[in-house]
C-alpha cells in the first residue's frame, strides 16, 4: 500500500494464489488449560476473514498468537511466505501486521495525532539523538508523517479531533481512532479485535462501513474477531467458528450459519439444528 492509496483509494491487491497467512495445527496451553487446539486456516490476500465463537472460545488467544504475544506449544504460522514464529513481538508490526485493541483507554493522555504517529513507529527512523536535535531530517520526517496521518484521519472522519487526547473522546470515536492508528502502519494484514463491542446499532453500522472501506478502497487483508453475529454474517468473506479452542466450522457466512454445530455452540443443545434461531443480518449490512 503506497501513500497515495489513502487519498485516492483505488488500489486493489493483485490476485495471488499464495495465502497471506497460513495457520497450521496451532495449539496454545496455559497451565494445562487448552486455549487453542489444532487450529488451522488460511487467509487469502484482500480477504475479510472473520473469527467468531462464544466467550472463551479462543478468539483473542488466536490474535495473541498472530501478534506473537502467546507462544504456541505446537503448530506453525506462515505469513507472507516466512515463518512468523521466528519474529519477536515488536517485529510483527514491522512485518506489516497491525492490530486494534479490544480494551481502549490504554493511552488516555496521548493526542489522536500522536497515537496515529505512534502507529507509524516502524515507518519512521529518528531515535533519541536525532529527535532531541530536531534538525532538518527529523523535522521533515515529522511533517511528512503528520500529513499522512491527517489524510488518514480525514478518511476515517476524525480530522477535527487530531489534537485532542484520546481519553477525552467518546467511546465510539476512540474505537475509530484505534482503527486509524492501526491503518497508519500501512499494514498488509489488519487484525480487528472486537471493533464493535459495546456499540449501538448505528455506531456498529458506521464501523462496518469503515471495515468495508478498508477492504475495498485500501485492499488491506483483514481478520475480524467479533461477537456480533449479524455484523460478521453481513460483511465477512469467510468465517471460522471456534468453540472451546477448536475449529467447529469454516466457510462462507451462509455455510457457517447453517452448520448445526455452530448453532449448538451459540444457543445450546435444545436449539441444535434450528438455523432460524440465529440472528439474520440486517438489511443495511446485506446491501
Amino acid at each position: 500500500m503506497s501513500e497515495s492509496n489513502v487519498s485516492n483509494g483505488v488500489h486493489k491487491p493483485e490476485p495471488t494464489r499464495a495465502p497471506l497467512l497460513s495457520i497450521a495445527d496451532v495449539s496454545v496451553r496455559f497451565a494445562g488449560v487448552k486455549a487453542l487446539s489444532d487450529v488451522s486456516f488460511q487467509v487469502q490476500p484482500g480477504e475479510l476473514f472473520a473469527v467468531i465463537g462464544p466467550n472463551g472460545a479462543g478468539k483473542t488467544s488466536l490474535f495473541n498468537v498472530i501478534s506473537r504475544v502467546y507462544q504456541p506449544v505446537a503448530g506453525s504460522v506462515t505469513y507472507d511466505g516466512g515463518d512468523l514464529l521466528r519474529l519477536k513481538t515488536y517485529q510483527v508490526a514491522r512485518a506489516g501486521i497491525a492490530r486494534t485493541f479490544q480494551n481502549l483507554g490504554q493511552f488516555p493522555t496521548m493526542t489522536v495525532m500522536d497515537y496515529l504517529l505512534l502507529g507509524r513507529h516502524t515507518r519512521m527512523r529518528s531515535g533519541v539523538v536525532l529527535g532531541g536535535l530536531y534538525f532538518i531530517q527529523t523535522r521533515a520526517e515529522e511533517k511528512h508523517n503528520r500529513a499522512y496521518c491527517l489524510r488518514l484521519l480525514d478518511l476515517i472522519g476524525l480530522k477535527n479531533a487530531s489534537n485532542y487526547p484520546l481519553g477525552s473522546l467518546p467511546y465510539g470515536l476512540q474505537k475509530r481512532a484505534d482503527i486509524a492508528r492501526a491503518l497508519a502502519l500501512e499494514p498488509k494484514l489488519l487484525l480487528l479485535d472486537e471493533p464493535v463491542a459495546g456499540m449501538g446499532l448505528e455506531e456498529t453500522e458506521d464501523i462496518a462501513a469503515v471495515i468495508l472501506d478498508i477492504k475495498e478502497q485500501l485492499g488491506v487483508t483483514q481478520i475480524l474477531v467479533e461477537h456480533d453475529m449479524a455484523l460478521v454474517m453481513g460483511i465477512a468473506d469467510r468465517v471460522l467458528v471456534l468453540d472451546f479452542g477448536r475449529v467447529i466450522a469454516q466457510g462462507t457466512p451462509a455455510e457457517a450459519q447453517a452448520n448445526p454445530d455452530v448453532i449448538k455452540a451459540y444457543l445450546g443443545e435444545e436449539f441444535g439444528g434450528s438455523a432460524a434461531a440465529l440472528p439474520a443480518p440486517t438489511e443495511e449490512q446485506r446491501s
Partner: protein, 391 residues
C-alpha cells in the same frame, strides 16, 4: 455490498473536552507567561543584584532543574520508577573531579588530571550515561516497585563505593571539585566577558542557564518526536506499545541513557558550584527530593521539572535567606524540618487531587479561561461539533 459507504461520522459529534490540547514548550499562553516572568526576573536580578547570595539560590535551582528534568525523562515520560538519580549525579560529579581536578600535590590528595572544562563537563554526562546503560537492562525484567528497589540499591552501593574510593572521592571527608574556565578565565574569580564584569555567581548563572536551556529543548524535542512517543507509550502500556512495533529494549535503554547523561551533567555542575562535597551528600534523601520535585511540578513536563525544582530546592533557600523562620535552639521548627513536612504533605495532596502537578493546575486554569472566554463571546470555540460529514 453496494458502492462503498464512506466512513460515516454524520451523527457523531465531539463533546466539549475538559483537557485542552497539550501545550507546547513556548506556544501556549501559560508557558509564554511563565517564560516571560522568568526572563524578566532573570534580567532584573542579573543586572541589579551584585549580591552572590541570590545567585547562589538561583544557581542551585537551575542545576536542580536539570536533574529534575533527568528524572522526569525516566520516571515521568517513560514510567520507570527510579530512586537512583542521586547516584547518577554522583557519577557525573566524580567523573568531573577525576578529569578536571587539580593534580595531587601530595599522596594524600585525591586524584585529578586537570583537564579543561570543555572535556570534563561532557565527560561527566557520558560516563553517567554509560553507567545508566549498564543498569538499564534490569528495567527489562523488573517493573514498578521492584525496579524502584533496584534503583534504591544503587544509592547504597554508591555510598559504599564513594566512601571507600578515596583516590577519587576523597573518602568520608570529601574533596574539592573543578572550576569551569573559559579561555583561562576561571569562574571563581571576577572576569570580564564582552566588556561586562561578572562575579562568580553571575558566571555560573550564565553557564547553568545555557545548559538547562539546551537540556530542556533537547528533552522537549525528543518527547514530540518518534522516540518520545515510544517512551510515553511504554509508560502507558508495554504490551500495547510492543504490538505497535516499539522495541522495549531500545526505549528503556534510551530513557536510562538520556536520563543518566543529564543527571551526570547536573551532578558535575552542582559539585563544581559547591566546590566541596562529602560522599554522604548523594543520599536517598536527595533522590526523594527530586521525586518530590517532579510530582509537585508536573510529571512528564519540561516546565513541570523546572517549577518543581524551584519549589523544592529554591524555595527553602529563599526562606532561609530572609530568615522567615526562627532557626536554631530557640526556634519552633527548623527550615529543613519544615521543608520535609511541607513536601511530604504536598506530594500527598498533589497525588490525590492533581496528579499533573503545578503544570496540571496551570493547564486546568488555561482550559477554564478558554471556556470562559468562549462563553463571553457567545461562541462555542472550545467545542468541536463539525466532524466532517462525508460525501
Amino acid at each position: 455490498m453496494s458502492a462503498s459507504p464512506k466512513a460515516t461520522a454524520t451523527s457523531t459529534t465531539l463533546p466539549t473536552v475538559n483537557s485542552a490540547p497539550p501545550s507546547r514548550l513556548l506556544r501556549s499562553r501559560a508557558s509564554r507567561w511563565i517564560a516571560t516572568i522568568l526572563v524578566v526576573a532573570v534580567v532584573v536580578i542579573f543586572f541589579s543584584v551584585g549580591n552572590d547570595d541570590w545567585f547562589s539560590i538561583v544557581n542551585y535551582t537551575l542545576i536542580a532543574a536539570i536533574a529534575a528534568l533527568a528524572l522526569n525523562v525516566l520516571s515521568g515520560y517513560t514510567g520507570q520508577v527510579s530512586l537512583g538519580i542521586a547516584f547518577f549525579m554522583a557519577i557525573g560529579a566524580y567523573t568531573s573531579a577525576f578529569l578536571g581536578g587539580n593534580r595531587p600535590s601530595s599522596s594524600l590528595d585525591p586524584l585529578g588530571l586537570a583537564l579543561p572544562f570543555i572535556i570534563w563537563l561532557p565527560a561527566a554526562g557520558i560516563v553517567a550515561a554509560l553507567v545508566g546503560a549498564l543498569v538499564g537492562p534490569s528495567a527489562l525484567r523488573l517493573k514498578g516497585f521492584y525496579l524502584g528497589i533496584v534503583s534504591l540499591s544503587l544509592i547504597f552501593i554508591g555510598q559504599y563505593i564513594f566512601l571507600n574510593a578515596r583516590g577519587i572521592t576523597g573518602g568520608p571527608q570529601g574533596r574539592t571539585f573543578p572550576i569551569p574556565a573559559i579561555g583561562g578565565a576561571a569562574f571563581d574569580q571576577q572576569n570580564a566577558f564582552f566588556g561586562l564584569a561578572l562575579t562568580t555567581g553571575q558566571q555560573y548563572f550564565l553557564l547553568n542557564l545555557v545548559v538547562l536551556t539546551l537540556a530542556s529543548f533537547f528533552v522537549y524535542n525528543v518527547m514530540r518526536s518518534r522516540a518520545g512517543r515510544a517512551f510515553q507509550a511504554v509508560r502507558d502500556n508495554e504490551t500495547g506499545a510492543t504490538i505497535m512495533g516499539v522495541n522495549l529494549f531500545e526505549v528503556k535503554m534510551g530513557a536510562f541513557v538520556l536520563s543518566s547523561f543529564l543527571a551526570g551533567v547536573a551532578g558535575a555542575l552542582y559539585a563544581s558550584f559547591s566546590r566541596y562535597i562529602a560522599p554522604d551528600y548523594w543520599s536517598l534523601t536527595l533522590s526523594i527530593q527530586f521525586v518530590a520535585a517532579i510530582i509537585i511540578g508536573g510529571v512528564a513536563s519540561v516546565w513541570g521539572s523546572i517549577l518543581g525544582a524551584a519549589f523544592v530546592f529554591g524555595l527553602p533557600l529563599v526562606i532561609d535567606h530572609f530568615n522567615w523562620l526562627p532557626v536554631g535552639g530557640s526556634g519552633i521548627i527548623s527550615s529543613s524540618d519544615l521543608n520535609a513536612l511541607l513536601f511530604g504533605l504536598l506530594i500527598v495532596v498533589f497525588l490525590l487531587f492533581e496528579p499533573g502537578g503545578v503544570i496540571g493546575l496551570a493547564r486546568r486554569g488555561q482550559a477554564l479561561t478558554r471556556r470562559f472566554n468562549s462563553h463571553k463571546e457567545g461562541g462555542e470555540s472550545a467545542e468541536i461539533t463539525d466532524l466532517p460529514a462525508d460525501q
